[in-house]
């Protein structure tokens, strides 16, 4: 399965909130949909699920118009939503029924997921009596109860302790391994880096970066170096480098333990190493710089941060 979102535009009244969103995702390869609060992620997801109709653009599945009701979709919204006063399994079965699953099958699958997420004993308890973390797990169980072809997880890790986060990580990995089409939206970049091969960053309703994460990291780190010294703290080292080697490299950032440098030419690294050996700088570590997703995100979407 290959889902393509093409040039989606969406307006509410006179305000256009999505200005031509495009990305694509294939089954078995999770897409990280990133963006700051209010960037347009949730609106994009709602357009994708036909809750909102776009003013322009289209959503395709394997080249044909995507009709959400033809697929089993598991959606975990950022705004967690279930019925606090209803029993856990009862409401899971109801939502599974709405997504086309029979009652008996839904009960069986629901119980399995509750057991898998270690909350099986709460099946007949009212949701409001569960802790926040367990309610979060119920929400995940309802997302997966109908064995969805497409899984959309919006901030799935918020509210989970490390143990529960590990359980969820295992589940997400398993679903990706089962060749599901996974769209993963989160502000916790570590999780995105862990699961997603592809990313799309939305900022102010526009895609500002889109593609393979490794490739993006590689391109973002091209011609950049990291450098630390035994005899200089990073701030002092930055001054020294600027003073002595300005024609070779430029200090881009001073980190706690090292500097990020940008070469002035393609073989700057080689020239810098040679120059350093002739200087008083006792090099502790030098290497190619590969930015974290967090760095990339801040660079692309942190314009007003």
């Amino acid at each position: 399965m290959k889902l393509e979102v093409r040039d989606i535009r969406k307006s509410f009244g006179d305000t256009e909130v999505l200005h031509g969103i495009s990305f694509e995702v294939e089954n078995g390869r999770a897409l990280g949909l990133l963006g700051r609060n209010g960037a347009g992620k949730t609106t994009t997801i709602r357009v994708l699920m036909d809750v909102f109709r776009p003013n322009a653009g289209e959503v395709l599945m394997d080249g044909k118009k995507f009709v959400p009701k033809d697929y089993k979709i598991g959606y975990l919204p950022e705004e967690r939503g279930l019925y606090p006063k209803k029993k856990v399994l009862e409401q899971m079965v109801y939502l599974a029924n709405l997504r086309g699953m029979g009652t008996r099958e839904a009960r069986r699958s629901g119980k399995e997921w509750l057991e898998r997420l270690e909350i099986g004993e709460y099946a007949d308890r009212k949701l409001e009596t569960l802790s926040k973390g367990n309610q979060q797990k119920v929400q995940l169980a309802q997302t997966l109860i109908c064995n969805p072809d497409i899984i959309i997880l919006d901030e799935p890790f918020s509210g989970l302790d490390p143990v529960n986060s590990q359980i969820l990580k295992d589940v997400v990995r398993e679903q990706i391994g089962l060749s599901r089409l996974v769209i993963f939206s989160s502000h916790q970049m570590g999780y995105v880096e862990e699961f997603c091969e592809e990313i799309a960053i939305i900022n102010h309703g526009e895609i500002v970066l889109n593609g393979n994460l490794k490739q993006i990291k590689h391109e973002a780190g091209q011609n950049r170096l990291t450098l630390s010294a035994v005899n200089y703290r990073p701030e002092a080292l930055a001054e020294r480098i600027t003073e002595k080697f300005a024609e070779l490299v430029k200090v881009v950032q001073v980190r706690k333990e090292y500097l990020i440098l940008e070469g002035a030419c393609s073989d700057a690294k080689k020239q810098l190493l040679a120059a350093l050996s002739q200087s008083d700088i006792d090099v502790a570590q030098v290497g190619n710089y590969e930015p974290s997703l967090n760095d990339i995100f801040v660079a692309k979407a942190g314009d007003e941060a």
Partner: protein
């Protein structure tokens, strides 16, 4: 359609499985069944005049009281059962203590010597003392400390004085007063055969059924709005709208609320009607005017009641989608409640003039026709085409409201924050691509 069925079932069971629904439905049904069965097991004729076991009359004749087989005033004036004290200042002996005693046999008669004494006694002695100051055969003053709604002492005294005045006038013109009184008092033997509708008899159950619809719309209609607002408030809507169509949701909710409210009403009214039917003989037919509801009237109530309820429930559903918190529901739904209350009051005030112009107009306006047309069918004369036209207008309005409501619902369900104004919602729902 399948998803609509799932939503409907979920919502319907959500209503009928609650303890309050079961408790109220069965509690009231049982209460009516027991109360209406009592005369079959216990002799209540002492408590309820008109109950005479073993005899079925064609109907209880309200207000019928036998004249006392006495001569004098009691032969013409109905006896009053007042048990307090009647103070009488009658300096000219126009009425006389004996005459008063005949009409008020259970009362204590106390003659006083002045009007001041009378007023002091009435003012100081409390509720069970009243008094009359008689100035002439046609002029008196009635003193009472606190006049109750059911006070009939003054009325009986008025009749007595009138009787005495007539007697004295008959004597003055040398006519035999007892003969004239007998002529005037001769009861007419008559029987009323109603070939069409008996508004007098239909009045009470029409009144009650309109009240029933009033409570159903206000209580259950509001619960539809609350249910939708709750789903927005607890964000269940986020999952719901991505699991099924908004049409299935709003139609399922509204029609489930309709079914649940009519089920509950049906259980309670059905229990009362069935219990009365079984025990009608023991009741001597005296509750026919409330519980012997003709099938066509019940059918009209069912049709216009259900459709009227659905119309208002869709409106409530839309209003529920416009707010994000349940506490905002009552504020937002105020104008709709006001509209229904106006419809209710206009119908109630014109119930005895059900063929009037106003009722005719109201019976064609969809937001008032559920009450007004039902009242006209139950109590007035309505042509079949009028019912059909009213029904068509009501159905058409429901359709437009449902389609428009589903659009607004779809747009409103995922908009959080302050309540959305209906005018803005209507404008947005008309925009393409919402």
């Amino acid at each position: 359609m399948r998803q609509f069925g799932i939503v409907w079932k979920h919502e319907f069971l959500g209503y009928v499985k609650t303890k309050s629904f079961i408790g109220i439905s069965l509690g009231f049904a049982l209460l009516f069944a027991v109360l209406l069965s009592l005369p079959s097991f216990i002799d209540l004729s002492g408590l309820i005049p008109g109950l005479k076991r073993g005899e079925v009359s064609e109907g209880y004749q309200a207000g019928e009281e036998a004249l006392a087989p006495l001569s004098g005033p009691a032969a013409s004036v109905a006896v009053n059962g007042y048990e307090g004290t009647i103070c009488l200042w009658d300096a000219e002996e126009i009425v006389g203590e004996e005459s008063v005693k005949q009409i008020f046999p259970a009362a204590q008669i106390r003659k006083v010597s002045s009007e001041e004494e009378l007023t002091d006694l009435v003012e100081d002695s409390g509720e069970s003392v009243c008094g009359f100051a008689v100035y002439s055969p046609t002029n008196y003053r009635y003193y009472v400390k606190n006049r109750s709604f059911s006070d009939s002492v003054g009325e009986s005294f008025d009749e007595l004085l009138g009787y005495l005045f007539r007697q004295s006038e008959f004597a003055r013109i040398h006519a035999d007063g007892s003969v004239v009184e007998a002529i005037y008092g001769t009861p007419m033997e008559s029987e009323t055969v109603v070939l069409g509708k008996d508004s007098v008899q239909n009045f009470l159950y029409t009144y009650l059924l309109i009240f029933v619809l009033y409570f159903m719309v206000l209580i259950y209609g509001a619960s539809v709005a609350v249910s939708i607002a709750q789903e927005k408030s607890n964000r269940a809507m986020e999952v719901l709208v991505t699991s099924t169509s908004s049409n299935s949701l709003i139609f399922g909710k509204v029609l489930a609320g309709t079914a649940a409210s009519f089920l509950q009403t049906g259980i309670i009214i059905g229990a009362a009607l069935a219990a009365y039917r079984f025990n009608r003989e023991a009741w001597n037919g005296m509750l026919d005017f409330v519980l012997q509801i003709p099938a066509p009237v019940l059918l009209t109530f069912a049709v216009f009641g259900v459709l009227g309820y659905i119309l208002y429930a869709f409106c409530y559903g839309v209003l529920g989608a416009l707010v994000s918190k349940t506490e905002d529901v009552s504020r937002t739904s105020g104008p709709l409640q006001f509209l229904f209350i106006i419809s209710f009051l206009l119908t109630m005030f014109n119930l005895q003039n059900s063929d009037g112009v106003l009722m005719k107009v109201l019976s064609f306006i969809p937001f008032t026709s559920p009450n007004a047309m039902f009242a006209r069918v139950a109590m007035g004369s309505v042509a079949v085409w009028e019912v059909a036209l009213s029904l068509a207008l009501l159905l058409g309005t429901i359709l437009v409201t449902a389609v428009g409501g589903a659009k607004i619902y779809r747009m409103g369900t995922l908009m959080y924050g302050n309540p959305i104004k209906l005018s803005r919602a209507l404008k947005m729902s008309r925009e393409k691509n919402q």
